[in-house]
């Protein structure tokens, strides 16, 4: 059985947990928002009610559970992500599923019983709700009269599933991406490059032609801010603007 190392709470922390949104929650939440989960931030997930399909109370619960979890043990929570995915598929073999359920629940039970004993609140684990096809799982816990939704990420599920990784189904935009689908991205469109010496650059004059390495039949590249080539395409025009017709290499 996996164990969760718990540290004693300070009274101020426990008061904060009970209040739900104590001062202690905000800094943790901020820290979480800075954590990158493939550029997905807490605000994107928690703020998107429609995609998550949660009530506001549940969303609040997600924040609170995250805070409690972080207070209890940061490492254990690295394995417990709060993103709900409900594709309603069940692809993992039943044995694997049972193992994941058992292991997750013992982690969570330990965590919550500890928090419960510190706060005199009764923690009760409800029947878990797992979606293995998507790689995400949902566990509902009643704690201190609040229904808390634990959302377990693929990392956790994969760990318990051993060699067999649990992946989102292909052919549709995973809900994780859907949660950030409105986020704007900017890509540079690069025609090509060439190598010159500083001396040559110094001598450049108006009218000079700098020949690039790219043949005029070659595609141009869409490059992300981090330098990653996202796609290639052929240069053309769309109305009065330059444009690129995308294609996928290979």
């Amino acid at each position: 059985m996996p164990t969760v190392a718990l540290r004693p709470y300070k009274t101020s922390e426990l008061v904060a947990i009970e209040k739900g949104f104590g001062d202690i929650v905000a800094p943790w939440l901020d820290a979480w928002q800075r954590e990158k989960v493939e550029s997905l931030t807490a605000r994107n997930v928690v703020g998107n009610k429609d995609i998550l399909g949660n009530s506001l109370a549940e969303l609040v619960a997600i924040r609170v559970t995250r805070a409690i979890a972080l207070l209890a043990n940061r490492d254990s929570m690295a394995r417990i992500l709060f993103v709900k995915e409900d594709l309603g598929r069940s692809a993992a073999p039943k044995g694997v599923r049972d193992k994941v359920v058992d292991d997750c629940l013992s982690d969570l039970a330990l965590l919550f019983n500890h928090v419960g004993s510190c706060t005199n609140q009764r923690a009760e684990l409800l029947r878990p709700h797992f979606h293995f096809g998507s790689g995400w799982a949902v566990v509902t816990v009643v704690f201190g009269g609040k229904s808390l939704v634990f959302l377990l990420g693929p990392e956790l599920c994969t760990r318990f599933a051993g060699e067999r990784p649990v992946r989102p189904p292909r052919g549709q935009l995973p809900t994780l991406l859907a949660a950030i689908s409105d986020k704007p991205l900017a890509f540079g469109v690069e025609l090509g490059s060439t190598t010159l010496t500083i001396g040559q650059i110094q001598n450049l004059a108006v009218g000079d032609v700098v020949r690039l390495d790219t043949a005029s039949t070659q595609p141009v590249a869409l490059v992300s801010k981090s330098g990653y080539i996202v796609s290639n395409g052929y240069l053309g025009a769309s109305d009065i603007r330059k444009a690129v017709q995308l294609y996928r290499e290979n």
């Binding site: 025609l191 001396g199 240069l235 009065i240």
Partner: protein
């Protein structure tokens, strides 16, 4: 074979004393003129949301933020060093310089 007289060498400590005059006497650009650098020609930018990006399929057309006849940029690192017209020279894309950015 005659025995050579050898002496051991003891290197003296050199103390760095701040001085005002630069020791590189050649003009800075002369020293680095043979340094090779990679220049990239940038056509413009495309703005897409994450959703739009992942819906892109083969043959999708995305418009850039630049006009058809607008000059393109020649970039060194993250700095635009020149602008010019998009041309084709010897079956290769090229840029015909129309403006050289002033040195800062």
């Amino acid at each position: 074979m005659a025995k050579k007289v050898v002496e051991s060498v003891e290197l003296q400590q050199l103390d760095a004393v701040p001085g005002k005059r630069k020791v590189v006497t050649a003009p800075a650009l002369e020293v680095v003129r043979d340094v090779k650098v990679r220049l990239t020609a940038v056509l413009g930018e495309v703005s897409l949301t994450v959703g739009e990006l992942f819906e892109m399929a083969e043959n999708s057309v995305v418009a850039l933020n630049t006009l058809v006849d607008e000059d393109i940029e020649l970039v060194l690192g993250d700095r635009v060093i020149a602008r010019g017209a998009l041309v084709i020279a010897d079956d290769h894309f090229g840029i015909q310089i129309s403006e050289i950015m002033k040195k800062e």
